[in-house]
């Protein structure tokens, strides 16, 4: 909610990582947009075994619920000494949904070193309303993540997060397999909510990122409150009174 992504380091077993390079080089068969996950990847296929890993399956169910559909998937390959960096962008087009989100899975089958120019991520950018690569002017933002990771790492991203593939300055090919999932149920309390009232939850939702302008950072909190209210079905939730204060309009009596 505050970061816009979940990072799961080295959670894919070595044998699946070893198989991945060949599978991704050959290519994963395309699926029609909006295919139910159970039909998109047949049992036994590489992609199915990947998304069935308990940690991944559990995280997906917590975020998009049971039986999501597969929007699309893509294999991204960056050749050695690979040309230019992608401009900073959000995928698809500007997305104004206030109470729903898609999740993008990014899987890295091999170690990604700094020289290999892994994915660039901007924590906390997911609620900004910008359209695709209109953010391409921004080369570096304070607190950005220039991903380096061990083999078998998986990221789960809010669809809106600003990201881009960095320039590959190494002598190794870089692979990344991406799958976008759409929810088919309301995204309300889909995760383990036993600690919902823990003060650490509100503290995390109030996190400010180093690249936020001072004033706009306050609006980020306001917008997180709105999304958290939708995801928890709790219209009274607030952080430091930001939303309550500006909606307080006592009725006047004659």
């Amino acid at each position: 909610m505050a970061q816009g992504f979940l990072r799961l380091d080295a959670i894919v077993p070595e044998e699946l990582n070893a198989e991945a390079i060949e599978v991704l080089t050959t290519g994963v068969p395309p699926v029609p947009y909006g295919t139910p996950l159970a039909e998109a990847f047949l049992p036994g296929t590489f992609a199915r075994r990947l998304v069935d890993l308990p940690l991944i399956a559990g995280a997906l169910e917590s975020l998009v619920g049971p039986a999501p559909t597969v929007d699309h998937h893509a294999v991204h390959v960056r050749e050695p000494q690979g040309g230019t960096a992608q401009p900073l962008h959000g995928d698809a087009i500007i997305d104004t949904r206030a109470d729903a989100f898609d999740v993008q899975l990014m899987y890295y089958p091999h170690e990604v070193t700094e020289q290999m120019g892994g994915t660039l991520l901007v924590p906390g950018s997911h609620l900004r309303r910008t359209n695709e690569s209109d953010t391409g002017r921004y080369q570096n933002l304070l607190g950005q993540v220039r991903l380096t990771c061990p083999a078998g790492t998986v990221l789960l991203l809010h669809h809106g997060i600003w990201h881009g593939g960095r320039r590959n300055d190494s002598d190794r090919r870089r692979y990344m397999f991406k799958i976008r999932f759409n929810p088919t149920v309301p995204q309300v309390r889909l995760w383990d909510t036993a600690d919902l009232v823990d003060p650490a939850v509100a503290a995390e939702l109030a996190v400010q990122h180093p690249w936020y302008e001072h004033a706009t950072g306050r609006l980020e909190i306001y917008n997180r409150v709105a999304l958290w209210r939708a995801l928890t079905d709790d219209d009274g939730f607030d952080i430091d009174y930001w939303a309550t204060r500006v909606t307080n309009r006592p009725r006047r009596t004659a």
């Binding site: 900004r128 080369q139 933002l141 304070l142 950005q144 881009g164 960095r166 936020y212």
Partner: protein
Amino acid sequence: MRQQVLVLYLATSALDAPVVGWSSYDGTGRTAPATGDGDEPPYETGVAALLDGWRLFQASQLIPPAPGHEYGTSFLKHEFFFEKLDT
């Protein structure tokens, strides 16, 4: 004469505010800046860039939010363009 361009994004609309983002473009061809090529800003503030000889040639306007969109967040607001001329 060739132009080097530095774009700084600041934490407030003040030129002496801290840098939160940066980009550069090099018309001399001596460097090839790219997306995600560094984690450390070139200067701490906009004024620090002036002190190092960069000339400010554009600053973003202060534009009030459109009615109904007061809480929306989008692009960075405080964008400053600097140049150095290479002769």
